[in-house]
Symmetry: C2
């Protein structure tokens, strides 16, 4: 037995193969395959020997290979919004880890924030017979998905809700997170606070703006409409918004930035000005600790993991009404949000 085991070196790293199991159990490959796949035609004594070899070697069935052999699909599609936004990296990886744990292949694509591209991509993935879909929606009308969902394609929306259809959704508490962040600025003495956010057709942008208004109202503070700036996250647009807020006759003393793209440009613009201005940003950013940027952090990996787990529960037959999961955010004070107001 020891001899046999020594001759069955796994080919890659330390992962044993079905061949190793066969060698250790002293049976043929076909017999191992029958045991692994729960097929008939194996005596209970042989099955026991194979199971012992599986346990001794720590053999794990290679699900991807099995799927290929059986010609089943076992794949899920993930439609992202922007492949280059670092926020989606950990989300993407978390979905992939869950997919792999279920022996499924993850297929990705990006809508580039274009509702038409989203639809094209989703339908192309359905045509390639994915079993399920995780969608970060760019559009606000997902009725085009109804025939696919009726045909059995499980779908979970993440980061933003589905439009005009009932579906499972996993998202962060954008409203509550923004309210916490703005309340933090108020607690540090600010009364005139600007809000720079993403385009108003994006659900999270509007939710965070609602959070800003709620925090101001909670503190009985007036909001001047010139303090709110929504639009693209292009650096030029955001830099102009920051400068306009701070160069006004009665300038704001603090800024809340609505996502990581806005925050990066806001930090850069503020760094070029004489006087420090308080800033709290939605989303954490790499190295924000060294730059002392106070943020409202959402857990991108938890969003991806939760969405993927919901999807696989549906694929495994879980029924029930569409489920809305809202994950909490976390305020991380690092300095920029604790700068006191200066007089205009």
């Amino acid at each position: 037995m020891a001899e046999t085991a020594r001759h069955s070196e796994p080919r890659y790293g330390n992962r044993p193969t079905m061949k190793d199991v066969a060698a250790r159990a002293g049976v043929g490959l076909k017999t191992v395959s029958r045991v692994v796949n729960g097929e008939s035609g194996v005596t209970s004594d042989t099955e026991r020997r194979v199971q012992e070899a599986i346990e001794a070697l720590g053999f794990r069935r290679n699900d991807s290979a099995r799927v290929l052999r059986k010609g089943r699909t076992a794949s899920i599609g993930l439609v992202l919004e922007d492949l280059a936004d670092p926020f989606y990296g950990p989300l993407n990886r978390a979905v992939e880890e869950v997919a792999r744990a279920h022996g499924a292949l993850l297929i990705n694509g990006s809508s580039a924030e274009d509702p038409e591209r989203e639809q094209e991509l989703v339908l192309a993935l359905c045509a390639r017979r994915v079993d399920g879909l995780i969608v970060i929606p760019a559009g606000d009308d997902h009725r085009y998905l109804e025939p696919e969902i009726a045909a059995g394609v499980a779908t979970v929306f993440v980061d933003r809700p589905a439009g005009k259809i009932d579906a499972d959704v996993v998202r962060s508490d954008s409203f509550g997170g923004a309210r916490d962040g703005v309340a933090h600025l108020i607690a540090n003495g600010h009364r005139r606070i600007g809000f720079i956010g993403d385009q108003p057709r994006i659900h999270t942008a509007i939710e965070r703006l609602r959070g800003y208004h709620a925090a101001m109202e909670d503190a009985s503070l007036r909001v001047d409409e010139s303090w709110v700036s929504l639009g693209t996250t292009a650096p030029d647009r955001v830099a102009t918004a920051v400068t306009t807020l701070l160069d006004a006759p009665d300038p704001v003393t603090a800024i809340f930035s609505g996502n990581n793209r806005v925050t990066v440009t806001a930090v850069r613009t503020l760094a070029g000005r004489k006087r420090p201005t308080a800033l709290v940003g939605f989303d954490d950013i790499e190295l924000a600790d060294l730059l002392g940027i106070t943020v409202v952090s959402q857990d991108a990996a938890a969003l991806g993991r939760t969405a993927a787990e919901s999807l696989f529960r549906r694929l495994e037959g879980a029924g029930g009404a569409p489920d809305q999961k809202v994950l909490p955010t976390r305020l991380i004070a690092r300095g920029s949000g604790e700068i006191p107001p200066h007089e205009g």
Copy 2:
């Protein structure tokens, strides 16, 4: 005519549809479809009217939809190494833009730096009949791809070369970039310079280490073997390497970090020490400008774009021997690489 145009508002953004063309030309949808697809059964007068409407509206055929209708595959696969590494974001997006310009769908997956996963994923994508593959290799033996390549799947390797097969490769000049970065530290007065890199089985890690040795040799400087630390980019490992280099009896006065993951931890570790230490990192990092981090920058988007363009040229029938493209890097001085040496 103006009336008709006014009634044919495109549904998404400003992109006109085939329906808009039909309305403007005063013909049926089927006629527009015939003209667009070059089918017969349309008089030359009608064809001219449709072409004029197409030009006036700036109509562009929706290639993804056409591919779906014809049931053709027209997809390419991209196998990444780590979905959460921000370096791959712009590369991924650039590949997607080129794919979309060719009317092809991009399917992604990640090997998570595991050669076995890479092979599983590549073969799963081939089983799904991708027309071409772009691979950031995790393994160093790609002979498993030979049957697929022989069967007509075009393949381009990016970031790192293929192992044991001849194939098109697009990569950055890791050797030259590292040599430039280390020469910059030498020009700033350093003689004892440490190198912290990724695992030695990764091609770019070894190329950059070669560049380090070349720069030291160019300046007739001795390298103590304790100055070189290769291993995973896990924060603990890198932090220990930095501390070991700086707390040695005869410490280094500068560090060259082999990639963005190493640089992030090196910057964080150096920030926690009393005395500033010179640092040059391979790869640029978001907000590195504000932190004053001197880097050797590679153009991730250009890598992706060049690889995708090479792939589509092969798909369109370009012959010839496998091609090796090496893109230049760029030294960006921002402060950390210009810190002078301090005496141990």
